[in-house]
Amino acid sequence: MKNVLEVKNLSVYYYAKRAVIKAVENVSFSIGEGEIVGLVGESGCGKSTLASALMRLVPHPGKIVSGEIILNGKNILELSDEEIRRIRGSVVSMVFQDPMTCLDPLMRIGDQIVETILAHTDMSSEEAKKYAMELLEIVGIKRDRYYDYPHQLSGGMRQRVMIAMAVALKPKLIIADEPTTALDVIVQDQIMDLFKELRDKFKTSILVISHDIALILEISDKVGVMYAGHLVEFSSSEELIENPLHPYTRELLKAIPNIEIEDQKLVSIPGSPPDLSNPPPGCLFHPRCPCRMDICCKDAPPKLTINGRLVECWLYGDKP
């Protein structure tokens, strides 16, 4: 399978006044064609920063300090601003959490879709309008809603409009950052089905970012788990559920309620995620880790590949 996206040793730091915050540290993974990859982690783990780096949209004072992002065969970190602008939308596009703040409240939704199409293609405005109506239909909105304003739509429908815009130019990769966090479960289910349909129809790869592990595990082919800026584990969802390697993944799976288990006992992870402006030495998870060894408190854990799965933990590496 061809890789649509390859991220190699990517680091993104925020240069705040008093400290350098390592929001993404030495992260590597890849996404194959037509794959749905999930990225989970708690708030502040760097998952949204990683997403914005993939579009080269890291906000000030953040900077991509090292690494490569190879999208569709090209390292996007080497492109000029004009080149990257053309890639956004046409090769990689994004769906954000809150559709209300992403849509222009004073513009008809159809015209907003048309605007995207006209900016990137040489379609005439008539063609673009026709195409926008088709797109609305694909995402499950009636054609005549073209003339509606965002306030006339419900939250789920607004998110569908965002998705219509994201797929308009048939990108290779869609990045969805918490796409259903503002929506109810039933609507969430509908939106996730839509993502799967689009994947099947257009062979688009999708990167879904969420704090909801249950959701991610249900829909993705592969899952990455982030903790304090590190990608601590990356593997297929089946393997991740059946045999989680990293202690953080294991503890996280014990902390989420699963309605299919009778009389479940939930266990929370003691402590809280580290302050990234003042991180602990060694492995960043060691203060909360049940499998902590002496070495974890001193040295950063090795990045290992075990049967094609990535894991960053001393449990599996040779100790020096």
Partner: protein
């Protein structure tokens, strides 16, 4: 029994434009809560589950008398509090507390954590300042904010979300309430810490034999914490019963759909899916008959005209659906 709610209603009038006021006398209302009845026993955790706009938060505010009901009756601990006012209501407040969703917004940023927890004791005149201080220390230890000497003097900005929610819980528990409304208490807490907050709430239930009205959109969380569950849809309870029973034997089509929409952390398992079309309708124009009929996969002719009553199908299991009425 700690709380008995009968036929509770809350209608909010909809503001009209000047033109509308000239040409129409018809008043429009958002029927946020439209006639619900339930009881909560001493020491019981009762969950209200529903999508946004189903009226669960309004119900929470109504039973605490933070807003006035349009109709119905609320009996708290043997006293009818539906129309209670002023001093009498204020006195009762120490027995009924609330925990809000957002621990960032529910603490005064300029008040030390210790003072925030102490405040209810001073307001209700339950202790002198010195006594209150030692009670606050004790409470800080109970909610796991140790050493208390340190946490007494910090400001909310120095705490993480999970720690703030512990402060909010401490503040609610310091007056030894009998009944607490917890409105989405863990939805803004990181997953790795949710269980600890829920367990803390369970610990206080044991200690004070207190009852909770637990409001959540998350059925998985409701399953973990509650004894009884009521599912709300557009201001009405559509199904109610003991937690285990609701999960083992859901009856209402809406409950079934909700349950099947919950993500289960396993990609292989093919769940039996019940797909609903569309989203929850507006509470201003509530559909006729059964208010769920516009989205119901099992709709019958009579559902459009006739509103189903909440009927008893077995001991303690209630459902409002024509499929189960004879």
């Amino acid at each position: 029994m700690i709380l008995e709610v009968t036929n509770l209603k809350k209608y909010f009038p909809v503001a009209k434009t000047f033109i509308e006021r000239l040409f129409s006398r018809e008043e429009k209302f958002v029927k946020a809560v439209d006639g619900i009845s339930f009881t909560i026993d001493k020491g019981e955790i009762f969950s209200l589950v529903g999508e946004s706009g189903s009226g669960k938060t309004t119900t929470g505010k109504l039973v605490l008398r933070l807003i006035d009901p349009t109709d119905g009756k609320i009996v708290f601990d043997g006293t009818d509090i539906t129309y209670l006012k002023g001093e009498e209501l204020r006195k009762l407040r120490r027995y009924m507390q609330i925990i809000y969703q957002d621990p960032y917004a529910s603490l005064n940023p300029r008040m030390k954590v210790g003072e925030a927890i102490m405040d209810p004791l001073i307001i209700h005149d339950l202790a002198s300042r010195d006594e209150a201080k030692s009670m606050v220390y004790e409470m800080l230890e109970k909610v796991g904010l140790t050493p208390p000497e340190y946490f007494y003097n910090v400001y909310p900005r120095n705490l993480s979300g999970g720690q703030r929610q512990r402060v909010v819980i401490a503040r609610a528990m310091i007056t030894k309430p009998k009944f607490v409304v917890a409105d989405e208490p863990v939805s803004m807490i990181d997953v790795s810490l949710r269980a600890s907050i829920l367990d803390l709430m369970l610990k206080f239930r044991e200690e004070l034999n207190l009852s909770y009205l637990f409001i959540t959109h998350d059925l998985a969380v409701a399953k973990y914490i509650s004894d009884k569950i009521a599912i709300m849809y557009l201001g009405k309870i559509v199904e109610m019963g003991p937690t285990a029973e609701i999960f083992r034997n859901p009856l209402h089509p809406y409950t079934k759909a909700l349950l099947s929409a919950i993500p289960v952390p396993s990609p292989r398992k093919k769940k039996e899916r019940i797909k609903l079309v569309g989203e929850i309708p507006s509470a201003i124009d509530i559909p006729s008959g059964c208010r769920f009929h516009t989205r119901c996969p099992n709709k019958m002719k009579r559902c459009e005209a006739e509103e189903p009553e909440l009927i008893k199908v077995s001991k303690e299991h209630f459902v409002a659906c024509h499929i189960y009425s004879v």
